[in-house]
């Protein structure tokens, strides 16, 4: 039986279930215990679990993240929350030099079952230091998994897998998704990494999108359907590992590709996916791959400008028409 719950509730369930299942799982972050987190993801967990497992930290990001990595090396399964992805800039040494490389440097001996939860994206005028989409930074680093769920169902199943994963996982939520609803089964389930989900089947063109660009692409797809254009929407769900097989199968079918990312255009994951497609399915393409991305700009405070620096529904529609030469 499935019921409709919020994205943030799905995340809460995943944390709760994993904490019940495995006593080594614990949470750390700012305002996550008493207050239940800025976006209410960890709400009420302190009621069920001890303050030792739901830890409110001082504003000491680099150190409590590093402590999480160290605890993971020593056999715990920490889930560390950094309020905004913008603040993960303070913890990069602990993630990139320590967590990502530890297993490798130890000759493959030491697992690092560490999860970093954070959230990004624009939303309601939070301005340049609270609105970034920085998945490409983590995507770039060998040794990290990068997960970006777009629905409550995916959020729950992927977070449970992240917590069970023996390697460091960067789990990136989107602030505009927390209040979105979707069906989530009552029964326990997990979602394997590296399995894309086809959010809508179609035959004329393939849209590849993740995080909050998935609902926006689905909206665009619905409008395009009214014009008789039938697009397929693929959500990779995990950027590392990337489900190349599902993406390439769709490309070979539709022969036209639009990749949508909220992050800025330069140096983004979209460019890398485009390079993979052209290397492995070049002969199938009927048009150059279109990338719809954020402008190469910090995010402005002003709301009208904010809405212009990230892909809009109409930008996605136009890109699909472009690859279809309409």
């Amino acid at each position: 039986m499935a019921r409709e719950i919020l994205y943030r509730e799905a995340l809460n369930e995943a944390l709760r279930e994993e904490m019940r299942r495995d006593p080594t799982v614990f949470l750390m972050g700012e305002g996550i215990a008493e207050r239940g987190g800025s976006y209410k993801v960890t709400v009420d967990l302190l009621k069920e679990f001890s303050p030792q497992r739901v830890i409110d930290t001082p504003i000491a990001e680099a150190s409590f993240t590093g402590a999480g990595v160290g605890a993971a090396i020593a056999g715990m399964r920490p889930v560390v929350e950094i309020l905004f992805i913008d603040f993960t800039m303070l913890i990069l040494d602990q993630i990139i030099n320590q967590a990502a490389k530890y297993k490798f440097m130890s000759g493959g001996k030491a697992p690092v079952p560490f999860v970093l939860r954070s959230q990004g994206g624009v939303g309601n005028g939070l301005a340049a230091q609270h609105s970034e989409s920085l998945e490409a930074l983590f995507y770039h680093i060998p040794g990290l998994k990068v997960v970006m769920p777009s629905t409550p169902y995916d959020a729950k199943g992927l977070l449970k897998s992240a917590i069970r994963c023996d390697e460091p996982v960067i789990f990136l939520e989107h602030k505009l998704l927390y209040m979105t609803k979707g069906d989530v089964p009552e029964a326990e389930y997990t979602i394997n990494f590296g399995q894309a989900d086809i959010k809508k089947r179609g035959k004329h063109a393939t849209i590849i999108a993740w995080s909050n660009m998935v609902p926006r692409s689905l909206d665009a797809a619905a409008k395009l359907a009214n014009e008789g254009i039938d697009v397929e929407v693929i959500d990779p769900r995990t950027l590392v590992p990337l489900d190349k097989a599902t993406i390439l199968a769709s490309v070979r079918k539709t022969e036209r590709v639009v990749i949508v990312q909220e992050a800025v255009r330069r140096g983004g994951v979209a460019s890398d996916i485009a390079s993979i497609i052209q290397a492995e399915a070049f002969d199938y393409l009927d048009a150059p791959i279109e990338i719809v991305a954020g402008l190469n700009s910090p995010v402005p405070f002003n709301l009208s400008l904010e809405s212009r620096v990230v892909p809009r529904e109409e930008d996605i529609i136009n890109a699909v028409k472009k690859v279809m030469y309409i």
Binding site: D56, P58, L90, N124, N296, P300, F301, N302
Partner: protein, 319 residues
Amino acid sequence: MYTKEFLAQLYKKLYTIRVFESRCIQLYRQGLIRGYFHPYLGEEAIAVGACAAIERHDYITSTHRGHGHCIAKGAKVKFMVAELLGKKTGYCKGLGGSMHIADLAVGNLGANAIVGANLPLGVGAALASSMKKDGKVTVVFISDGASNNGVFSESMNLAAIWNLPLITIVENNQYAVSTPITQSTCEANLFKRGEALGITSQQIDGNDVLTVYETVKNFAEHCRRGEGPFLIEAITFRHGGHHVNDPGLYMPKEKLDYYMSIDPIKRGRQYLLEKGGASDNEVKEIEATVEKNMEEAIRFAQSSDELAFDDFLAIVEGY
């Protein structure tokens, strides 16, 4: 020993911040201001006392709770309201918003939405002053929460070994969002952290504008003689939650009542009346002027345009 004019100036600033925050919170509730808004209500004496004790060309670096610092350092409220409304006439053309107002013309190097990040920037400003020998002092405002971040000890240590003309003011309002200071440190007397680094440090009543003024004035003189840095822990309390949407229910009522009873605005008014010998009418006149100025500022902001998309693109050209 204080002139009426001086005390009137202090009171005018205190009252301006109070009115600015109160009116802008109303605008926020009407949906005219979006994003984060962290009121400085209850902490006004710190910014006002500190900025009165330094010169116009001296530097400050500020925080997410920065409106008070900005006004105290000499900003015009109309450009601030315009910024909060996201208008092109705002200090940052509407690109920055509440947490990013900078007013370089009066030495305000800017608010900051990354807790603690304004500390090293302040150290850098003081470093530049010591290299250029320009005689300027830098005042960095932070709060208790930021003092737990690594950048705090690193920055203070740098300032100490380089003898920088830097005064760090820890506005100890006893909370970081909803986390009380007792939960984030085992030594809540934060000035001791300065002492541990060999920095002359002092704990003061942050709700008393004259105490803040005297302390900063004294330290600033030492700084200008090459005897910096200094640390001030100013004890204070927010009048409400962390931001406008936080009712602050976790703040104990007795404590709030106590700090309301030593409200910095009330005390500033008292000083003007008693030490300055101002009449009730003179005080009311100041208040009326401030209120009128604020209403004009709101009208100015509301009638201003937003930055056009093409003008925005011109700014980020080459980014």
